[in-house]
Amino acid sequence: MTHDEAFELLAPLALDALDADVQAAVEEHVLTCPRCRAELDGLRDVASAMGTTYESPPDGLWEKISARLYEREGSDVVPQLVFAGVDGSSESGPRRSALTRRVRALAITVSLAAAAAIIALGLSLSSANSQVNQLQNALSENGQSAVLTALSTPGHRVVTMKSAGDRQLAKFVLLPDGRGYLVSSKLPTLPSKETYQLWGFVNGTPISIGVMGSSPKQVAFTLASSPSPSALAVTIEPAGGSLRPASSLVASGTV
């Protein structure tokens, strides 16, 4: 679609008065055309002004919205969750079915290989949790200084954890000696019966690094495995953690 063709259709677009295919074509042009974008924004303001009135919403509507805030997006078995970047690739919407299959395949791999992998790393869930808790205590005393020190240590790596919707939910910093810290988190608070659990992927197999609690603020851990994980992932598990990831995968990021 040419600029002139798109420009002519901006007013109907602002009113949502185009067929879906034409709308998609105009919107594609708008993405790359600052002039059309500015024109469309102005026209949408006009449409919104025209549509601005007030009608009291029905009683209970806010409660319905509030009750759905932590619903999982989508309707698949593992709906919103993608091991984005686990294999170094960047994944998004259209490949959700394939990814879901991949997550299921991973779960099968875990069920077959989890015990052996945990032993090979010498990092049982209980010891990992204990290690995380001890380090968390130390971190509480030192506040954020440990994180700041880690971020200024040569050779550190920052792992950005993203949801399936490509939303950044957390960042970890990893040091060459295996220590790691949570830098920032937008993970919502879970009910007390659930906890976030951090996993490292070693040769494609998820290994528990430890539980992070229901509202992670300060988390420290040590990666004792060799080779190092190629990716990290966060899942939601029952309080106390799990030996292998449940289906509630929240975010992942390439190391």
């Binding site: 002519e8 259709l9 901006l10 007013a11 109907p12 602002a14 009113l15 949502d16 008065a17 185009l18 067929d19 974008r37 924004d41 102005g42 026209l43 949408r44 303001d45 006009v46 449409a47 919104s48 002004a49 025209m50 549509g51 601005t52 009135t53 007030y54 009608e55 009291s56 919403p57 029905p58 509507l61 806010w62 319905k64 919205i65 509030s66 759905r68 805030l69 997006e73 919707g165 939303r167 937008k186 919502p188 608070t189």
Partner: protein, 192 residues
């Protein structure tokens, strides 16, 4: 933050990105009535308008980064979302429900002046002045598209005019309204 009611809309969205339910509740308090009102006006059905309102606020909760304050105010963004979803709903309805809405719209068209009066009472003076500045045929084309959810081709069919004519009326009418609103100092919906 001492009083959430004093926080700006842009700050509310930043708080929503940090999963502040209080911020979303305040956003709903400020704009829920407008979002629901527009959906209700387009759909003429409270249950479907409720669904649209839920979708709009859940989308803001799940994807707050979709709101770009450099492209307009939050009220305008939410109303754009509300309208788009209401129109999607109309176009996906089954035939009997479409007929039901169509009948209601025909009735509304038959008493067009009366509908105008009722609707006009709900609009601010500035918007009313801008709408009234339009030639009747431009206002009609815009309202059929915006409030009844028709494509401009369907509007052309309803008014028995060439598509190009309707496209021009919509474009000219929208630009005329923008000029009027700008002259009146109204840049967007938030100032209403």
């Amino acid at each position: 933050m001492s009083d959430i009611s004093e926080v700006s809309d842009a700050q509310l969205v930043t708080m929503i990105a940090r999963y502040s339910e209080v911020a979303l509740a305040e956003t709903y308090r400020r704009h829920g009535g407008a979002v629901y009102g527009l959906a209700s006006r387009v759909l003429n059905n409270s249950s479907e308008a409720e669904d649209v309102t839920q979708e709009v606020f859940l989308r803001l909760w799940n994807q707050p980064d979709r709101f770009d304050p450099s492209r307009g105010n939050l009220r305008s963004y939410l109303l754009t979302q509300s309208h788009a979803r209401a129109v999607d709903t109309i176009r996906s309805l089954n035939a009997s429900r479409r007929r039901e809405i169509g009948d209601a719209q025909k009735t509304a068209r038959a008493s067009y002046d009366l509908q105008h009066q009722a609707w006009d009472y709900m609009l601010s003076d500035e918007i009313l002045r801008a709408l009234r500045s339009l030639p009747a045929e431009e206002r009609r084309a815009i309202e059929l598209a915006y409030f009844e959810g028709h494509t401009y081709m369907k509007v052309a069919e309803i008014l028995d005019e060439p598509e190009g004519t309707i496209k021009s009326r919509i474009r000219n009418g929208m630009r005329r309204m923008r000029s009027e609103l700008t002259r009146g100092g109204i840049q967007g919906a938030e100032q209403l």
